[in-house]
Point group: C2
Chain length 313, copies 2
């Protein structure tokens, strides 16, 4: 049996929102095009938040329009609320993700909303999407952030995450995802929580993990996720936006290292790793001096490395 994993590039959203500088629109377009050309099949191109909150992502609608022109690419965007979802629909995204923080303290601090208020928005978004012709209806994911722990509350009860996953599905999401926003996750916890959520909402309603590498466990957590039936992993080219030397570091797992691990294991991801490594050049040129991460880009591919059959090489 050949396992196939979908890598969802979130750098243009999670990476760019985590740095202060604004990447020029042309560079963002070039980045998205280059990654898609390297074989990446899903990219979260931005977030439909007010420009005054995240000026780095103010051009998300233009990026959606650009990315929709790339054949075979799933164009995803984050939406914080109904208004964001309306803008996402208007822009024509294929997938919207609404974040819900498992830690209510975190939700109140970051979104100024309770769980109940966020779930109200989920229902309103589901109604909006339900009214669209099926060909124009984006896939709707509820992303549970701080699912593995919270920097304010500490431990987050697994029963709370399960309960919220059920609530998101009942409120009209097509699927749920789990996010290790704080980099607290460990492989044993990934296995437990994925199994519990899959058991509660049905195996096909949890497919994706958004993992960080804050404490260096990102790829070990991916491995545990794969063993638990996860088929989609978010990652960021060059780990952009994640600085392990800064408090509150984001620290997405690095797309290049993730692709290398999966391909080395014989798992197809449909990506040409050599080409992907070249895409870093776009980030280096557009954001000179911005720290990039990843081990494989520095070490290079092993001598005689052969990607799995089906992946470009």
């Amino acid at each position: 049996m050949t396992i196939s994993i979908l890598i969802s590039e979130v750098g243009p959203r999670d990476g760019l929102q985590s740095i202060k500088r604004i990447m020029p629109l042309a560079a963002k377009k070039a980045w998205i095009t280059a990654e898609a050309t390297a074989g990446v099949r899903e990219i979260e191109v931005g977030s439909f938040v007010p420009a005054k909150i995240l000026p780095q992502l103010a051009d998300t609608a233009e990026l959606v329009a650009h990315a929709r022109g790339i054949p075979g690419l799933t164009v995803a965007a984050l939406v914080p609320n109904l208004k964001g979802a309306e803008a996402a629909v208007q822009a024509g995204v294929h997938k919207v993700t609404l974040p819900l923080s498992a830690s209510e303290s975190h939700s109140l601090k970051n979104l100024r909303r309770t769980h109940a208020q966020v779930l109200d928005d989920v229902r309103a978004i589901a109604r909006l999407l339900g009214g669209l012709p099926s060909g124009e209806r984006p896939h709707f994911e509820g992303g549970i952030s701080t699912a593995f722990g919270c920097t304010i509350e500490g431990e987050v009860a697994e029963s709370k995450v399960v309960e919220l996953a059920e609530a998101l599905m009942q409120a009209g999401c097509d699927e749920v995802g789990l996010s290790d926003t704080t980099g607290y996750a460990n492989p044993a916890q990934v296995r437990r929580l994925v199994a519990a959520v899959k058991h509660a909402v049905g195996s096909s309603s949890l497919n994706g993990l958004h993992l960080h590498n804050t404490r260096g466990l990102g790829l070990a957590n991916v491995l545990a996720g794969i063993e638990s039936g996860i088929t989609t992993f978010d990652s960021s080219l060059g780990g952009l936006g994640g600085c392990p030397f800064a408090p509150g570091a984001s620290g997405n797992i690095v797309t290049e290292d993730l692709v290398f691990m999966l391909q080395a294991m014989g798992i197809s991801v449909g990506i040409d790793l050599s080409r992907l490594l070249e895409v870093r050049r776009i980030l280096i040129d557009a954001l000179p001096g911005e720290p990039l991460y990843g081990f494989t880009p520095d070490a290079g591919l092993p001598l005689g490395f052969v990607p799995p059959t089906g992946d470009k090489s």
Copy 2:
């Protein structure tokens, strides 16, 4: 069932031999003492090689004498040949590891010896150790380096590694270990190779892995190792000696991150992680400016982190 894992600190040997500067003897002693005090139960304190080849490790005999005075600590050393083993016995080590490179090209380049010549030495060392009173006889491990791939030969056949493991056991080793010298290993390969070697030599004759983090997969490979029944992992405090930005980087997995992952998973290692993190200060002071690695030291422990019962906290 509580799993327990032995962490074997190899920084004083593999870390220090990979950097040009020589750490003063007093600092080495302080490092070894501090790690043992933090709960580390096995430390490879050096290598019995000629001082002209590795002046960084010329004081290994003095370190063995020092470390033997620490109650409960297993004092390990590398030996390249019979002469080294004689010196190790004289110094009073508890464990000797003789490296044998699975890639014969690598063996010829680094040790200037064929597999047959190294196996002759193994037999001679086994005779030497067999002649000692059982209380003074060090444990004898054959460490198969480049077991997961070679920078000269590329892929190393798994059948070759299995064959060498059998040869090492037949030549008189007490156990064998597998080393990812080049940072080529991936989790699927770890599972396959560990299973194959355990099948060939008996499960209890392969207990340890020496993994590198050259391409960021170190902890994922540890996870695969644990699932395959491995109970001892080598690592280096601060990843000392491993520079991902230099060709031929060693890049041992980082002891701090390894301890964090295992403890977060509920696996006991007998180590007080907060105290272990403080030991870095000794390296920083003794080798100012030398790059240290690890994510957990920068990110800190998660809020409310509780180590497994039995581990110090």
